[in-house]
Symmetry: C2
Subunit: 251 residues, 2 copies
């Protein structure tokens, strides 16, 4: 029996959709959560629009075991994530005393402090996600984890969740490189995939050292099955007249 | 009257969700389409699973003016995009003669050619998207544009669409930099945003030359309004005791 724990990632921010900013959070979340046994099954990049955020949070928290959001928890008018999560759960926001205490340690004029304290808003009933960079904490509401958009801060917050989340089977990978075009091995790969439905065989063309080749990535939860499939794929490469390179667990 | 033309991007591929590959296609699509007057309003990264692809294509093609997909149009078993688009539209796939002709120019053994010809499958009724890199073409079905996942190939395909798509108002940006924390200007920004609901004012903290600052990005379709808002934002920075840097249209 396989034990799959799934996650969706919601990347909240007009700056990603406008092309101003290249997202790097999804990649970090995918690899980190993957190593904890949580598979990112879908990601959505959505704008700073209340109804859109609320709808996507509610859709994803029902479909996936976990939802991780990044972005929109700062002190300005375009930071609406906390309010949206509260609406998604049908609860009011409150000012969390622990976040407010951290924010208040650094003195500021009244209006600046009032803005900073907006970062202490969380939905009623939320727990906190520690922020090792020293700034305001993120929060968790049921299975929805709400983190900053700045990669360094998001990565810090995520690191504090290690060991606190339910992980399932870890998907491992086995990678083989062949200096063959994809079409030269497509039929055999399809046969191997059909024979081993519990693994995913991905085929990715590359160009390296002035040669075209194909990276064959086998992903699955059972090490012995991965090994069997890897041997079959390597044999298929040999049958096509090339010597495979076994890249081990490198993806 | 504003004239908004919207798009969704569907990034199809297990390799993005596993973290093996860092997506760069969304960023290129967002900036290129934006310059043509098409606003990317949502992006979704989805796995190579038929039902998921079909559902997302049908959801997005109803909600947005255009849908652009990347990935899954190669010759191997995990390349299922063409079949999924056909299912989404309720039509069979056919072997497109123009793509088949291009593929057949390069000789190959029968089984290799059979695999390569899988790249000629398109939904019945699809038009083609030219591929300047010389490989098989992409295709378009109604408002859904289906392109390769390899960035260089996707970018080539996209470039051939210039001038063929309906563009709306172009969203322009005006950027101002201030060596202030976001909270120091949050109240004033919120007031300016409320006064000018037709623009989006984004606030993005940065760390540069050993100083913390905030990039204020104003986005909108009307140049004169952008200018008014930029002046108001710069005045707000001055009122907070700093001299703003006008970065012009740099985002």
């Amino acid at each position: 029996m396989s034990n799959i724990v799934s996650a969706a990632v919601l990347i909240i921010g007009n700056e990603i959709l406008s092309g101003r900013t290249q997202d790097v959070n999804l990649n970090h979340l995918a690899t980190t959560l993957g190593s904890w046994g949580i598979q990112v099954r879908e990601a959505r990049v959505i704008p700073d629009i209340e109804a859109t955020i609320v709808d996507n949070v509610n859709d994803c928290r029902g479909k996936f075991d976990y939802v991780f959001t990044t972005g929109g928890i700062g002190p300005t008018h375009d930071d609406i994530t906390a309010v949206c999560i509260a609406k998604a759960f049908g609860v009011p926001t409150i000012q969390h005393p622990d976040i407010a205490a951290r924010i208040s340690q650094r003195p500021a004029p009244d209006d600046v402090m009032a803005s900073r304290l907006l970062m202490a808003r969380v939905p009623e009933g939320a727990g906190l996600i520690e922020n090792p960079t020293g700034g305001p904490q993120g929060f968790v509401m049921d299975n929805v984890y709400v983190m900053a958009g700045i990669p360094m801060v998001m990565q810090g917050m995520l690191s504090t969740l290690q060991g606190t989340l339910r992980g399932g089977d870890i998907v491992r990978s086995r990678s083989i490189r062949a200096y063959l075009g994809e079409s030269q091995i497509a039929t055999q790969l399809g046969q191997i995939q059909a024979q081993y439905p519990d693994v995913d065989i991905g085929s990715y063309p590359f160009f390296r050292d002035n040669r075209y080749g194909t990276a064959l990535v086998i992903r699955g939860t059972k090490t012995n099955v991965l090994e069997d499939v890897a041997q079959a794929v390597m044999q298929a490469v040999r049958d096509s007249g090339e010597e495979p390179e076994d890249m081990g667990s490198e993806e």
